[in-house]
């Protein structure tokens, strides 16, 4: 696994860029920027479903989500750059594993939203509260992204081999 990730990093120029003087902090800045865009769009929509900003149309605010997708793509690209440049610092890291777990949960939650609730929410008048199911989805989303941010910060402090992981 580590060999495959390292090979990818070396052959694509990612490793050379990330090990240049400004490579890593530049990627970190873009990573955090993507996260802020995600929270400002998907997070704001989640807060709206939980009742903040009554009067703003759900359908209007939902149109912010496309910027959230752009932010998420920035995160995936820069995240891949981190992971492939120093794979041993990530795949054995319990903070990274927890982050990935909650990213999976956030993804499944999003699929659940679009499969069951999104049309109903977008058709709801801005003065009316959304269903309890939509509120639960919003709360799970906000909780997941909060944990993802916290785990992202903790990755630096739980570096292997000093900390255990499930398959070390």
């Amino acid at each position: 696994m580590i060999d495959i990730l390292s090979y990818f990093s070396n052959t694509t120029g990612i490793y050379a860029f990330m090990n240049s003087p400004w490579g890593w902090p530049t990627a970190e800045s873009i990573h955090f920027l993507g996260l802020c865009v995600l929270i400002g769009t998907v997070g704001v929509f989640d807060f709206r479903m939980l009742g903040i900003g009554q009067g703003i149309e759900y359908a209007d605010l939902h149109k912010l989500v496309k910027f959230g997708v752009a932010g998420y793509l920035l995160n995936v690209i820069t995240g891949t750059m981190f992971l492939t440049t120093a794979p041993d610092q990530y795949i054995y890291n319990p903070a990274f594993q927890t982050k990935m777990l909650f990213m999976l949960l956030a993804g499944l939650n999003m699929l659940w939203f679009y499969a069951t609730t999104s049309q109903q929410v977008k058709a709801t008048n801005g003065e009316i509260a959304v269903s309890n199911r939509a509120k639960i989805i919003a709360a799970v989303s906000l909780l997941s992204w909060s944990i993802i941010i916290i785990c992202g910060r903790l990755i630096t402090y739980f570096r292997p081999p000093y900390h255990w992981c499930l398959w070390c």
């Binding site: 400004w22 890593w24 902090p25 970190e28 800045s29 955090f32 920027l33 996260l35 802020c36 865009v37 995600l38 929270i39 400002g40 769009t41 997070g43 704001v44 807060f47 903040i52 900003g53 009554q54 009067g55 703003i56 149309e57 209007d60 605010l61 149109k63 912010l64 910027f67 801005g126 941010i149």
Partner: protein, 130 residues
């Protein structure tokens, strides 16, 4: 920080016109979250500054971050005031777009400077000067 920057991005995108013209007045309720986030940012930043004062105060990037953060928060406070007073509709759209653009640039500067702080310090402890 993500909550503060995110809410500012959302309102800037609305003012620039990249997202639909959703009602701004109800959006003022998001400012409660925004200022709660700002207080957490300032308190945690103060804690980090107190822990390693020489590391931050000897680094020009720290001042860049401070200026960008202060400018971004000033614009946020001004925009909130215009929304609460219902006077935002009287401001020319072009002026609002410029202010929203400046807000986005300032927040990108604050984030970038914040990340670069960890890589650009030349002094760690004040004891170096004694």
């Amino acid at each position: 920080m993500a909550v503060v920057v995110g809410i500012n991005f959302a309102i800037a995108l609305r003012l620039i016109g990249w997202v639909p013209q959703f009602a701004l007045n109800p959006f003022q309720r998001f400012y409660h979250l925004h200022w709660l986030g700002a207080v957490i940012v300032l308190l945690s930043g103060l804690g980090l500054l107190l822990a390693y004062p020489a590391k931050a105060l000897t680094n020009p990037v720290f001042y860049l971050k401070f200026i960008a953060l202060g400018g971004g928060l000033l614009i946020a406070a001004w925009l909130q005031k215009q929304i609460v007073n219902h006077s935002i509709s009287k401001i020319p759209a072009q002026k609002l777009k410029i202010i929203a653009g400046i807000s986005i640039v300032l927040w990108i500067m604050a984030i970038t400077a914040g990340r670069f702080l960890a890589y650009t310090n030349s002094v760690l402890l004040a004891s170096r000067f004694f």
